[in-house]
Symmetry: D2
Subunit: 355 residues, 4 copies
Amino acid sequence: METTVRTAVMGVSGYAGMELVRLLLRHPSLTGTPPLLLGRPDGNPEPLAAVHPQLMDNNGTGLGPGGLEIEPFSWERLKDRGISVLFLATPHELSREWAPVALEHGIRVIDLSGAWRLTKASNRSVYKFHDEGSALAAAVQTKAVYGMPELHRDSIRNAPLIANPGCYATSIILALKPLVAAGWVDARRGIVCDSKSGVSGAGKAPTARTHFMHAADNLSAYGVFSHRHTGELLEQLDLQAEQIVFTPHLLPIPRGILSTIYLWFSQQRQASEVEAAYRRYFRESPLVRIFPAGHLPQIQYSVTTNYCDIGFHLSEDGRRCVIVSCLDNLLKGAAGQAVQNLNLMCGWDEAEGLR
Amino acid sequence: METTVRTAVMGVSGYAGMELVRLLLRHPSLTGTPPLLLGRPDGNPEPLAAVHPQLMDNNGTGLGPGGLEIEPFSWERLKDRGISVLFLATPHELSREWAPVALEHGIRVIDLSGAWRLTKASNRSVYKFHDEGSALAAAVQTKAVYGMPELHRDSIRNAPLIANPGCYATSIILALKPLVAAGWVDARRGIVCDSKSGVSGAGKAPTARTHFMHAADNLSAYGVFSHRHTGELLEQLDLQAEQIVFTPHLLPIPRGILSTIYLWFSQQRQASEVEAAYRRYFRESPLVRIFPAGHLPQIQYSVTTNYCDIGFHLSEDGRRCVIVSCLDNLLKGAAGQAVQNLNLMCGWDEAEGLR
Amino acid sequence: METTVRTAVMGVSGYAGMELVRLLLRHPSLTGTPPLLLGRPDGNPEPLAAVHPQLMDNNGTGLGPGGLEIEPFSWERLKDRGISVLFLATPHELSREWAPVALEHGIRVIDLSGAWRLTKASNRSVYKFHDEGSALAAAVQTKAVYGMPELHRDSIRNAPLIANPGCYATSIILALKPLVAAGWVDARRGIVCDSKSGVSGAGKAPTARTHFMHAADNLSAYGVFSHRHTGELLEQLDLQAEQIVFTPHLLPIPRGILSTIYLWFSQQRQASEVEAAYRRYFRESPLVRIFPAGHLPQIQYSVTTNYCDIGFHLSEDGRRCVIVSCLDNLLKGAAGQAVQNLNLMCGWDEAEGLR
Amino acid sequence: METTVRTAVMGVSGYAGMELVRLLLRHPSLTGTPPLLLGRPDGNPEPLAAVHPQLMDNNGTGLGPGGLEIEPFSWERLKDRGISVLFLATPHELSREWAPVALEHGIRVIDLSGAWRLTKASNRSVYKFHDEGSALAAAVQTKAVYGMPELHRDSIRNAPLIANPGCYATSIILALKPLVAAGWVDARRGIVCDSKSGVSGAGKAPTARTHFMHAADNLSAYGVFSHRHTGELLEQLDLQAEQIVFTPHLLPIPRGILSTIYLWFSQQRQASEVEAAYRRYFRESPLVRIFPAGHLPQIQYSVTTNYCDIGFHLSEDGRRCVIVSCLDNLLKGAAGQAVQNLNLMCGWDEAEGLR
């Protein structure tokens, strides 16, 4: 167990960054060592509360001097403060640039972007990384661990670089993995993943899509056959591209993801054995909640929690299964999972500060 | 073409009833002959504007005397007013009772409930009709036409009883029929219909599910493998139960349905031929809008219109198709389609009063 | 009555522009003469349905060739098409520039911006018009009529330039005018106008304020003691600045305004005489609905209508009055009122195409 | 400081009850002594997670045996468990009955209803209490302390019965008290309180008002000149009925209150002195956040926190002040304030478990 962990967060202004700061400030093992908050290298120091008034303390200084500040990023600053773990809540291009440098400085990285999640070049191609194919990138990629504790708990503990999973991918992989790993799924007949996400998943930049008038009272599908998270599904579930279809939708709610997943079993199954398979697989996973057969999770149950909730229904003939999986895209789908990874890296209880 | 059509609406207080009244009041061929508005047989007359203040006129009398009234239902009243077409926007049990009586009185019926949509007893069983198996019900059922003009235009014109389709069923059947009818769909590999509906679809009765605190900021699946509209899909698309899965979800919006539909083609297809198949099938259907390949409809585009909007994406290998279909559940999914049926029954232009 | 009226709309892409086009396309007296749709002078022609898919027709060409197009603005084009009335749904700076030119060309203008609403320079100062104080602007201002038919019906009929009122201002002025005009209000004790508007009022540009994550699940006050519509209240109600406070709020809904207005009467009043005063004042106004004493309008009742709804409550001592006024900010608060003005200018029924 | 505090919560199924349980379960001084959860005396034990799936733990037993249970209420049970503080999150009629009995049993009560908040019979009359005027009720009333720590911190510490304030009342009283107490407000000219609340304030019972279709995309005023919280304003601010108008509105959001308050100062004031007056008054109040002059709180900033946020704007002449006050109606407006009172009663830090 590390004795003093000093964390830094780059990308505080976004939604995942805000939740990450909130979790770190309340983390029992980090009491007295608030995270170093970092903004653009060429920016000016800025009170945290000016960016996120929700996080203002009550001494009235939140918008003036005093209180936590977001400081301009520099490697010197990280060094001076003795930072051992750097969270990157940054666009993936930035993470591609900075993660290698951090590793050189001996700083462990938990990257919330898609920069280091995919091991196959064919899956990475949608990202069009500027350094794709470079020797450095390839070397860094070999050090990266896909940061889904329920699947890769042991590798995470000692990883220098954690590729924190995508929010959609988390909801789908956790729902499918126990059944796929059991060898029960007839993937040749196709797995359908119909996912719906709140608007925070679309980022903080004001765009036509995130405008209230577009998002409210609406539902739209996007990225059909082309969403970036598809590669994570293929790699983590060991599937071929034609075996899975994933369609994300933009929901008129601030946060939360619900994925409805349709699959065929190779042979007839009972609800009780499906439930048992889930419980067995997640026996030691404190942040997954399995619903009893016949009960389904809803987005509302998981929002503001760090859980992934999973429930399912079997067809009468026991051949088809509909799984519903829910999580808070900013927590278990981003910041919560990042802190879960931190806990493992530091030898703490996996769910510390996350219940 | 009929010269004088007199309509009545039973069940004015619900959401579909309100939209129906609104459409009938504005219908060009019904100018000067407003619908007879009917409520419970044992109720008192009540101003329409007291139930739906939206429909109040500006003479200030909307909540007092004057203006349109909802009158207690009685067969005498229908006779006295010379009603030729009766809309039933009532629960299905009531429609089971009243439609036969109306037919006896020589009144044509457009029933918005699920009472008369299904020809096979096995599909009807979920409804648990009190008169299931009776000779009268069987006789009435043979007179009923499934009121989807795009599929049954000719039968509708002379039908004594129209079974207006379910809202979910409309969005799915219109999206699938052209491809199924063309014989392109490999139904053995399974068709997945993932539908999402606004809360008006759940009816006006205040329940735990329709409480704002449950519906808002939430998404939930329900009726998995058991929703009543499934039978309509099977009958209208001529599918076996194991060939289609339909999962409805409750969206945090007042109105609108989006169905995301996943299917396999038996052989490779081009986007252009799929689009052409849709356009061909709906060539004479004024209330279906086909989106160009690569463009998808959104709920927002169809809400407050009487259209069903359809778009699709093909997988790179041309074997899988994702269709997105949208409509306003209270209009094309209920009242709008009912008026479309009225238009056909009266020999008017199919889209009159609906554009 | 004019025989052939040809209209043009500049600024079609915004929300008010879209509603205006929708109203003009359905207007009974404009059948066969659709409005000329205009976009940026340096833009390319663009299908209307590409900008507003809601308005797509069903021939499938909405996103391709055919169907209505938005054409680049030019005075030649207006001339060639014989345009007699030009709607400006443009930012106020543009309206300041273009309205004078249109008048020179003999084209009547209905301007939906704040460019020409205010006769006193002190009230206009918040707009910081580039041509403030110029002789031309002063001359044009004298030709402008404040386009609130309920107050200025006769002047509107022959006006060359209509300054269509602000949305907030419409909801407040219509609610206050009958009582102020009757001399009943003790303005020295202060009138409080607490208004709440849906997000469409904030315009189509994606900004931090209109981002779904900011607007949803939220309420915020803004423009306290400084909102631009205040000048309209002062001028139309003949009040001094210290006699009225107006605070707008941003509601988490797409459209609709509700203003709650608090005033003191100079002497005790009965509810019946207040209601009578309203009915008397709006006796010939088809687009104002007065609610019976004790009943209040709600935003929901007026949204998608062209009405302004007004209701009130009196305190027990008859000295204080709380008025609630509702309208759809894009209709009675913008496009609907603009068409109402068009109707008057053309000698048509004031409410034609607006019920 | 008490050594062992055992709490019980009656009325767990409601929204405030749920938040209360959540706060008590996480309260640092209550670790290891979870609250006794109580339901109807004639009910059956029920898992907490069956009522509030959000609170399910991850052991999968949340919906079955194990986990926290809601037990049927009985005085014996309270005695057996050694309960020292009973929270009543019950309708006011029940609180009128039970609080006296609890006091007899030597159990301190924190009542979240309106049962014991008002000392004057005239203000209580709107509640129509069944025992109004009885000697017992009068005796109990004298023991009750209005549980607003910022005003009555010292009396709360030793009170046997805490009348937890109304949600609207909390937002208004905290915003007005510092200025009224300073003697700056010209109350004769009238104070206007225009409040807007999320739907959770309307309770969990499904009604026409709380139906999603009524609450969503809407805003409505209610209880004009007659809302029950008015009496709290009069008593706590020492005002006459004609000096204050309070109008609540139902917002289309789950939770949060924003009150916009309008007042006249007796003489001209500077923004800096107003801000200073607020800071002075709340110097020792950890759960009030004063915004710097020129910055206003928004509902979003306070939701899910236990703070009341206050900001203001002065008119140019320094005579009129518009105050905006926000809080989460279920936290600072109910459960959070209840725990704040518990903290004081137990000698703990006032904000323990509430930051």
